[in-house]
Symmetry: C3
Subunit: 154 residues, 3 copies
């Protein structure tokens, strides 16, 4: 245990950046309370990422959504204090704004697994590590007229 | 909603390619009705991929198989209309044909998770995005005499 | 079936290396009985990996742990004979030793999914394939004073 004074004067999260560049893109580390989707959007804007794929894991409060074709909206489910066992997604653009598409699997204290399309994601008591692989071509999402889904256009 | 005439004359999926190259390999985007394993095999053949790792996600109709050592065959399970929350796999070769090995986790409308070894995979009402990282060495799969499993030989 | 004499004289696993280098890092293939976390630590030491992200899949005997904040220790759960449907993790350093952080999702013979933070992982009757993406900067893990979690410091 470090003495309290040292905790106060140099909290680790105050001096550690949220991401760093790598040979293939970026590594992002987020901490308790961070909004994962917002931080990824900020990365896309700040670093002018044309398009990217990413994977991640950590400890989270997730909100999933399953598409309800009748309602034409997502049926949501929020959970608290889960391990993000796997997160997979991509960064593209729509109307000049970053457009994320993210899926994930979380597990609870009984090790049971849940998941799906991620609508919102907050870091819990721990961290989230994300590895981003950047591509050169700017990609846009567009609505597929057949299914109504926003699809990545190559 | 776009007028029907425009949908007919320029359907988005008719002019968008199924994959593009990236600094580390390829990104593939598949649409409703596409056979995911077939498209990955076609990519391997067309682009002469020596070996590769990939990850993906999307909306799918999967068939999983769990190896039954007594029967020496897979016990299969097919599902419909699931989110592919995570897909992980590799491309190698066997007898001069592409040999895939793919695992995945899917989730249903209640956000419960299922998964395992993927025997077949069709894109559902949406898309599947796959990021492929290509390696330089041609890799072969061979049967491990101890376990009977087809193992990637480095 | 090959004759027994050939199995004895040239077992495939005796001549195949555990990993190979790739343009973005390494591919590791482990076999029945291998200790996955130990082999990743050995890779980190032997190849002087500054930091890395990895993903993998295979057939495993896993031990998961869910953090119990009251006990300040993990509540563990061990399973046998499961498909590793998704494994995601990172390699960093702590006190000059490799420090792994690994999460995973496994599935049983009924295709039900379980998972979380991985405490131990042995390869079952099959193999485990892992793709490692290496970064240039040496990263350390340090204890976050707020949550008590070991967090990757960028």
């Amino acid at each position: 245990m470090l003495p309290p004074v040292q905790q106060q004067s140099t909290p680790a999260h105050a001096v550690s950046p949220k991401y760093m560049s790598t040979p293939t893109g970026y590594v992002m580390v987020l901490r308790q309370g961070d909004n994962v989707l917002y931080e990824l959007e900020q990365l896309a804007v700040n670093e002018k990422i044309p398009s990217a794929s990413f994977s991640g894991f950590g400890f989270v409060h997730p909100t999933f959504g399953f598409w309800n074709a009748e309602k034409k909206d997502y049926d949501p489910k929020s959970m608290r204090d889960t391990e993000m066992a796997s997160m997979t997604g991509s960064i593209a653009w729509k109307d000049d704004k970053p457009a994320l598409h993210v899926h994930g699997v979380v597990t609870d204290k009984n090790f049971n697994a849940f998941g799906g399309h991620i609508l919102a994601l907050e870091v819990g008591t721990g961290s989230v590590e994300i590895t981003i692989t950047v591509h050169k071509k700017r990609l846009e999402r567009e609505v597929d007229q057949t299914t109504g889904a926003a699809v990545l256009r190559l």
